[in-house]
Symmetry: C2
Subunit: 323 residues, 2 copies
C-alpha cells in the first residue's frame, strides 16, 4: 500500500471537515468568536517512548492521550489534530490498520478528529508526532505561570502506575499478573482527565500535565510562576495496586519517591485557591475522577518534597531527563 492508498483507505475515515477530507495541502479552521486556539505538539519515538516493535492500537491511543493532556491542562477543549507518521517501508498494512483503529478509539474517547498531517518512510524507529488543537475562552488559557503563594497544589487520578508498568515491561520488577496488566495498560494507554477540562478552566490558576514526573513538572510550574512549592509525599495519590507495591518495598519512602518522579502519568497538576478546592473536588467526583490536595504553594523558589512530619526529603532525580 502506498501513502495515497493508506490515506484514502484508513486515514480519511478519521478526518474532520476542517481537514478537507485530507485531500488538500492544509486544513482550514477558525476558532469560534471569543475563543483562543490552544496548540501543542508531542512526539513519541519507538524505543524511547514506547517499546520497540510495539506499533499498535494502544500506541495510537497513547499518542492521542499524551497530546490531550497538554490541551486540557490549559483548560482548553480539544478539537482536532495533525499526525506525522514515519514508518519503515516494510510495515505491513495490518499493523497500519490496527494503529488507525486505535486512533479511532481515541478520537471517540476525546472528541477529536484528524485534520491533516504527513506520512513518510523512515529507515529507523517509528516516529509519531501529533499537533493538537483546542479552544479556550479568549484570554482564559490556564498557564503554568499563574500560581500564587497560599494556593493549594492538587492532582488528578493516581500517580506512578505508568512507572510501574514500564518497570514490568523492562522486567525490572516482578508481580502478580493482575497488577502487572493494570500497570502496563496505564503505561500504554494513559487516561488524561478530559471530563475535568471545564473545571480546570474554572478553578485552576496554574496547571501542567505530568509527563516528566510529578516533582519535575511541579518544578516547571513553580519556576514559571516564581514561587516555591511544598509537596507532602505521603499524600500523593496511589492506586490500590501501587499502594500494595509500596508496602512490599523495604523502604516505603523511597518507593513512594520513585512513583512521584517516574513520569508518564499524563494526569494534571494544578494550583487552586484554597476556598475553591472543595468545589473542584466535587466536580471531579461527579466524573469519578480522583482529585487530591498534595501540597501548597509557598513564597520563594523550588519544590520541596516533605515527609508527614514536614521534614524535607532529598530528591536527586525529580523526573525524566530529556535528550
Amino acid at each position: 500500500m502506498d501513502e495515497f492508498g493508506f490515506i484514502a483507505e484508513y486515514l480519511s475515515r478519521l478526518a474532520g471537515p476542517e481537514g478537507l477530507e485530507l485531500k488538500d495541502d492544509a486544513a482550514v479552521w477558525q476558532p469560534p468568536i471569543g475563543f483562543d486556539a490552544v496548540i501543542s505538539m508531542d512526539t513519541l519515538v519507538e524505543g524511547v517512548h514506547f517499546p520497540k516493535g510495539k506499533f499498535d492500537a494502544q500506541i495510537a491511543q497513547k499518542l492521542i492521550a499524551v497530546n490531550i493532556s497538554d490541551i486540557i491542562a490549559k483548560g482548553a477543549d480539544p478539537l482536532g489534530y495533525f499526525l506525522s507518521l514515519s514508518v519503515p517501508k516494510e510495515t505491513n498494512s495490518d499493523r497500519l490498520k490496527d494503529f488507525c483503529h486505535g486512533l479511532s478509539i481515541a478520537q471517540k474517547s476525546y472528541g477529536v478528529k484528524l485534520w491533516g498531517g504527513d506520512t513518510t518512510r523512515t529507515s529507523g524507529p517509528i516516529t509519531l508526532s501529533v499537533t493538537m488543537i483546542g479552544t479556550v475562552p479568549k484570554g482564559k488559557a490556564v498557564l503554568r505561570s499563574g500560581a500564587n503563594n497560599g494556593d493549594l497544589l492538587c492532582v488528578t487520578g493516581t500517580i506512578g502506575d505508568s512507572y510501574l508498568g514500564l518497570k514490568i515491561l523492562l522486567k525490572q520488577i516482578d508481580t502478580d499478573i493482575t497488577q502487572a496488566r493494570y500497570w502496563q495498560n496505564t503505561y500504554h494507554i494513559p487516561r488524561p482527565p478530559l471530563a475535568l477540562q471545564a473545571a480546570i478552566l474554572k478553578y485552576a490558576k496554574a496547571a501542567i500535565d505530568i509527563s516528566d514526573g510529578l516533582l519535575a513538572d511541579a518544578e516547571h510550574m513553580a519556576r514559571a510562576s516564581g514561587v516555591g512549592m511544598d509537596i507532602f509525599l505521603s499524600t500523593v495519590p496511589l492506586s490500590t495496586a501501587s499502594t500494595a507495591w509500596v508496602l512490599e518495598q523495604p523502604d516505603h519512602q523511597t518507593a513512594r519517591l520513585q512513583l512521584a518522579t517516574g513520569g508518564d502519568d499524563y494526569q494534571v497538576l494544578m494550583c487552586v485557591a484554597e476556598q475553591n478546592f472543595s468545589r473542584l473536588k466535587k466536580q471531579a467526583s461527579r466524573h469519578e475522577i480522583n482529585m487530591t490536595a498534595i501540597g501548597k504553594v509557598v513564597a520563594g523558589t523550588n519544590v520541596r518534597c516533605r515527609d508527614s512530619q514536614g521534614r524535607e526529603i532529598p530528591v536527586t532525580h525529580p523526573g525524566y531527563k530529556h535528550f
Copy 2:
C-alpha cells in the same frame, strides 16, 4: 546539553509571543477577526528527504521552506510554526546550534516565528516535523478543488533544479562545479514564492505546491477539481543550467520529462482564469518571480503531458511514490 538547556539557550530566541517563551505546554493564539487559520504539517527524515549525516543550517531552511510552500499555495500568510526535533543522543551542540541558525535565517526570509514543539531523542535517523500556521481571509483559502474547464495552468519559478541537485548528490550525473552548486543549493534550500502569496490569493482558483513532481501534483489538483489537464512539456520553465543539461542529453524530451516528474521543487502550480493571467504575471515580475503558463484545464479527467505538436507523451512515473 539536555532538552531544557537546548530550549533555553537556542530555541527560545526563535520564539514568538504566541509560544509563551516556550515555557508552557502549548501556544495560545487567535486568528484576527475575519480570517481563517490555514494549518499544514510536513516531515523530513534523514536518509529519505535529506542526505544521511547532513543536519545543518541548510536542512533547517529546507524544513521551513517545504512547509511555507503548503501555506502560500493556499493563498495564506504564514505566521508561526511548531517543531518536532528527534535527534540521536550523541548529536553535538555545535550541530544543534547550526541547525537553529538555519531556522533563524528561514524565519527572517518567511516572516515566521517558533510557537512551540517537542524535542526528543531517537536511536535512528534525525526526524524533523513542522506544523505551520498561517491566515487567510475567511472562506478565501485557495483549494486544490477550484479548477474549471478553460482555466490556464501556470507555475512559479523553474522546475527540475532540485531533481538535478539530488542526482548530483547521489553521484548519478556529472557536471561542472557552478551548475552543480546551483542545483544542490536549490535542492537543499528550495525557495517557495512567498512574495506571491497575495497574488495567489487574488487570482488562483486552485493551487498546490510541487513536492512529488509537477505532473503528479497536477494530477492531485485535477482529481480534486474533477477536471482534466493538458500540460505542454516544452513550456515547463527551466533554469539556464537545466536547459543546458537538457540539450546535452541524447533524448531532450525524456530529459524534460525527468525534470517535470522529479519533485522537490516547492514552487506553486495554480489554475487561473485566462483573462487574469497577465495581471498575475505582472505581479510576479514585480517580485522578479517567473510565472509561466504551461497548459490548460480541460473537461474530463487526468493530466496529459503533450509535446509541442499536441501529441500525448506517455508518462510511466508522474512523480515520487510515497511509502
